[in-house]
Symmetry: D5
Subunit: 155 residues, 10 copies
Amino acid sequence: MTEKIYEQLSLLGKKVETPERPEDAVLETFPNPHPDTDYVVRLTAPEFTTICPITGQPDFAVIVVDYVPGPRLVESKAFKLFLGSFRNHGTFHEACTVYIHKRLQEAMDPKYLRVVGLWYARGGITIDVVVETGTLPPNCTPLPIGRTSYRGGRE
Amino acid sequence: MTEKIYEQLSLLGKKVETPERPEDAVLETFPNPHPDTDYVVRLTAPEFTTICPITGQPDFAVIVVDYVPGPRLVESKAFKLFLGSFRNHGTFHEACTVYIHKRLQEAMDPKYLRVVGLWYARGGITIDVVVETGTLPPNCTPLPIGRTSYRGGRE
Amino acid sequence: MTEKIYEQLSLLGKKVETPERPEDAVLETFPNPHPDTDYVVRLTAPEFTTICPITGQPDFAVIVVDYVPGPRLVESKAFKLFLGSFRNHGTFHEACTVYIHKRLQEAMDPKYLRVVGLWYARGGITIDVVVETGTLPPNCTPLPIGRTSYRGGRE
Amino acid sequence: MTEKIYEQLSLLGKKVETPERPEDAVLETFPNPHPDTDYVVRLTAPEFTTICPITGQPDFAVIVVDYVPGPRLVESKAFKLFLGSFRNHGTFHEACTVYIHKRLQEAMDPKYLRVVGLWYARGGITIDVVVETGTLPPNCTPLPIGRTSYRGGRE
Amino acid sequence: MTEKIYEQLSLLGKKVETPERPEDAVLETFPNPHPDTDYVVRLTAPEFTTICPITGQPDFAVIVVDYVPGPRLVESKAFKLFLGSFRNHGTFHEACTVYIHKRLQEAMDPKYLRVVGLWYARGGITIDVVVETGTLPPNCTPLPIGRTSYRGGRE
Amino acid sequence: MTEKIYEQLSLLGKKVETPERPEDAVLETFPNPHPDTDYVVRLTAPEFTTICPITGQPDFAVIVVDYVPGPRLVESKAFKLFLGSFRNHGTFHEACTVYIHKRLQEAMDPKYLRVVGLWYARGGITIDVVVETGTLPPNCTPLPIGRTSYRGGRE
Amino acid sequence: MTEKIYEQLSLLGKKVETPERPEDAVLETFPNPHPDTDYVVRLTAPEFTTICPITGQPDFAVIVVDYVPGPRLVESKAFKLFLGSFRNHGTFHEACTVYIHKRLQEAMDPKYLRVVGLWYARGGITIDVVVETGTLPPNCTPLPIGRTSYRGGRE
Amino acid sequence: MTEKIYEQLSLLGKKVETPERPEDAVLETFPNPHPDTDYVVRLTAPEFTTICPITGQPDFAVIVVDYVPGPRLVESKAFKLFLGSFRNHGTFHEACTVYIHKRLQEAMDPKYLRVVGLWYARGGITIDVVVETGTLPPNCTPLPIGRTSYRGGRE
Amino acid sequence: MTEKIYEQLSLLGKKVETPERPEDAVLETFPNPHPDTDYVVRLTAPEFTTICPITGQPDFAVIVVDYVPGPRLVESKAFKLFLGSFRNHGTFHEACTVYIHKRLQEAMDPKYLRVVGLWYARGGITIDVVVETGTLPPNCTPLPIGRTSYRGGRE
Amino acid sequence: MTEKIYEQLSLLGKKVETPERPEDAVLETFPNPHPDTDYVVRLTAPEFTTICPITGQPDFAVIVVDYVPGPRLVESKAFKLFLGSFRNHGTFHEACTVYIHKRLQEAMDPKYLRVVGLWYARGGITIDVVVETGTLPPNCTPLPIGRTSYRGGRE
Ligand SMILES: [Ca+2]
Ligand SMILES: [Ca+2]
Ligand SMILES: [Ca+2]
Ligand SMILES: [Ca+2]
Ligand SMILES: [Ca+2]
Ligand SMILES: [Ca+2]
Ligand SMILES: [Ca+2]
Ligand SMILES: [Ca+2]
Ligand SMILES: [Ca+2]
Ligand SMILES: [Ca+2]
Ligand SMILES: [Ca+2]
Ligand SMILES: [Ca+2]
Ligand SMILES: [Ca+2]
Ligand SMILES: [Ca+2]
Ligand SMILES: [Ca+2]
Ligand SMILES: [Ca+2]
């Protein structure tokens, strides 16, 4: 149907190295295949890890993104490589979740964008961060967060 | 009660071949048996598979449809055959989910229609697509998506 | 407290035969014991079965009823016998769920009535039907549908 | 902090007999320790049982109470003894749930009060009753009913 | 591979009426396609209903069958029609479960056969019946009963 | 098939009062309808309550019985009335569970009998008691205790 | 990115003793790293325990905090030490939950703050307390309370 | 039935202070009410907390005890006070779990004893310790550890 | 450590077409990297689909393989392509599951091999097939089948 | 009780860098505090990640270790640092799981040791590896793998 729009993608179907820092990652996008219809896309990524800038120890999180596309959609392999670039990068929970949001916002200019970071427990306490911008257009309701979210097949 | 309305259905109770392409599938409908009452119908289909146009590898999804009927309802065997026609068809997640929505919209002209595609994980990331049009009439609230949805008896 | 209102019930505590057809079933009611308070009643019935009018094969469903009583409440044994009368009766999913709704509406004249039919899978697809009429009065919110609903003790 | 308000309680920390009838139970209350803040209190009581006035057989239910305190809060041991007083008392599901609501309303004069009775199945059908009065003040949202509710440690 | 063995089946792929009584049902079988390998087959049937011979009221159950085939396997549509034949048949829980076992034993002469009947609650009590004969050959362990068992897509 | 064996039952299908004390309850039995086959029967009763002999407060439990019948089976209504007779009876958790086991043993003389009492929490601690006698005959394995056990439709 | 804002924290990464009383605990904060974006932070702490002022016995609870930061965020180790300071402190459920709310309010001056205390059962009854102030800004919806909440890895 | 055996208990039904150290706690026992029957008792205690001897920070665990009584049973309030005595006591996970086992062994001399400590996560890793002595007599199988275990009504 | 053993693999990391028939698929293997240690490998594949040879309609299943390697292990991409080759291939449930087992047996000559096919419901009945050969060496116990098994991230 | 045995630990309670390669990590141990009692210790670590040596992409797994200590126990912070050292290390699933087992075996010389690697899905297929050596002494049964295992507080 709409396959031409994927033609200029440079990462999909090729072997590409994970960028070394989030700043180096390119969040490649492609044109919205259905710009006449508002719809919601969710990306759930349970394979996310960073480094604590103070202790140097690794942190882990599940990242859940919901967005209503504007002119462009993020390509999912580019999104995966972007997330992978945090692997050896020092950052705090709140700041990191907001930064992911800002990069997606910049790359796609979506009508609505929500990024949720569900961080693993430290000191007996978990931290969740929910960052959301834009307005849900009519007929756009993200799915509930819960059992439908993916956790790497290790549920 | 209202059995005459089913009389002209050509697929139900007969052996019919799965169409080879989505374009060939006929989404047969029958008249709304209760046109004076607004109600919500959900169809949950966990047996859905397509081909990735770039890698040639199969993709899998659960498709959940909620609609408020207008003049006609989709016949469920026709819907099943329509879904089966994607089996050897190359398509992307977002485009495919929107296309299913468009075909149902065209075939039934419902008052409200939502199609949700819950695609299996690729590269450690799942993608969900929610496409919704029309306005929910008063007294019409779809069921929540979650545990009530069917997954082939393989829960 | 309010026991006189139950005195005229003809079915409760007696051995009564299941009616042979839904049309023969009497949905006996009793006066609302608290007509000055709006409240919500849920009846969950996982023991419901009908016959497919085309294939002659049995169908199964869970029926969930939520209502805000008006002048009268349906007596639960009468409701059970009514449901039992569909056992050898041919009917389709959508039509049957709407019919149950109409009979309860007629029998009780409630302020609000919702009937949900959660039908077992056929052809790899489940069908749910939600039929709702009336307006929820202030202070009346039905329980969510999900884990709280009863499934015959066979959860 | 606010311990004086508990000083006049006559039941807490003492051995007290369960009243023989609901009418005999005293729903002792104490002054709202934070009258300047609206908040929601939930009491979940899975240990509730009554007698069916017609068959003489026991009935069981889970009682969930949500309220926004006004001038006074119900003391939880008094509430427990009140529930215990239904043990050998004949009553119907709907009437009983409304009666519990009325007694709590009378005893506390809360800003908002919801009583939910989740009755065990009889004849293959469960009955739930939701009785709610008052208006939720701003910043007061009860917890959802579901998995967070207590069932006697026998989950 | 082994398709000739299915050629003499008289029910599969045809429209066949449900027998009126269990005694009338024919449990059609076909030759074991792999007689040289011991394996376990599970059939899970949540759509099972009978009549109580004393009260005339319907009973419901989930039937789970595990067997190690001997010379022949039961054809699944024949099994479905057999179960359907209990629909208007009066029988008790224990006796019925054992009877299903005896008919399957007779029809297939399996090396091992277990029939489990998980009956819906009556009087606040559920009854489960487990009937098992034969010896599990080496390398034959049935799946555990639990979450993997099917309940009509209505979980 | 085997209906004569139920003819002498005095409680089933009649209105019978709950005995006032466990000692007064008659655990009526009927002849094993399949004495030639060893099978396992499970009765799950979540509606069980007693009185603490020291504090006078009610206790609650779920009772799960698994047995392999010998010459006779316990009739389930008799079992229900027996359990009901503990309602105003003072007893401790361990002693009570063993007593139920002894009465069933006496009444039925089964080949194997296990009674499990899952008592609700007191003082932040739950107590479970498992009492088992006899030997499981070949081909008799009780179902696992867990999710398959019934909790009054209030799961 | 924004690491300077953490520089003045006195507790993180050092060995600090738990304060002996809640009044002694300092709820250290740091500047909001993204003051231009409204977002929601959830802290879930299942390791919370107090002393009952009347019986001297320990109480346990799960504390869930959702807030929309204003100028400052609470540092999570300071929050942990604050919760730890209740360990040998006598307090009641409702008063304690409101007190935690007040301290967080004072320390952070957030735009919105909700504290939920899910207290373990006493006398067969659980108590939940929900305290909430402020207004949710646009684009700020806390996550649902339920399965996503943390319970010490002991789920 | 067997109430005299409880007469010498000094803690039950009285207000007793929690001992300050585990060494001070008395694990009061009472005579086995059914010394002629082997049975399994499980005590599940989710309200357990200690102090880390190195960091001074609190640790939390769920303690599950299964035993087959010999001459005496541990009284459950004494057990609760014993667990409470660890509240301000420094100890490591493995050593503490074994110590609880040793004290119960000493106090009761049971035929079989298993103590399981399910400790909350530290550093992203949970530790479970299983300590077991004695031999299970015939007809004694502890319940599986899992969903049936109690977690303070906060599931 | 042992990377040379992967050098001769022809499929991994390359774009390869799915074979058209199971007979055409090559189950490529590589040498056991730890031939001195017996261990169990599980592969869980929820993305499996075939064609019913009689109705021409698609069937779906989850395939779970557990094996103890002998001299060689199956390469997981080769296994995936093998499963993909059933996509347009007509086969029955029992025969297909046994065939998968035979091909893996042939390709790897493992010490133990179990293949489980969990087929989606047809006619209201699910079919599971368990095929197992060889003997579990000491210290080799497969994981239980249940919640730990993967279902495409669509749980 | 046994605190001297912890005195020589060099990592606990100090800030230590994660080793760069598994070969550099020291699996520090301490003397078994209860060498006279056989017991089982489980460590569950959901925060584990490696690099695929062929694609360079990250892999994720949950590692579950069960062991019966011999003369020494692994210190849990050392274990955590050891797991952290795989972060930028290329390795395959089977080989990596066996290597973890070998290092623990070497470091502790336990009586029994099982390492389970539950790897996240790749290509729609999950891989689990179970490596086990030694013999379970009497009175040593590891907990079942399933719901009791920890997943970072993100269940
Ligand atoms: Ca919508
Ligand atoms: Ca969403
Ligand atoms: Ca509505
Ligand atoms: Ca309301
Ligand atoms: Ca409702
Ligand atoms: Ca609010
Ligand atoms: Ca509420
Ligand atoms: Ca085997
Ligand atoms: Ca089985
Ligand atoms: Ca057996
Ligand atoms: Ca059992
Ligand atoms: Ca929002
Ligand atoms: Ca036993
Ligand atoms: Ca083993
Ligand atoms: Ca296995
Ligand atoms: Ca053992």
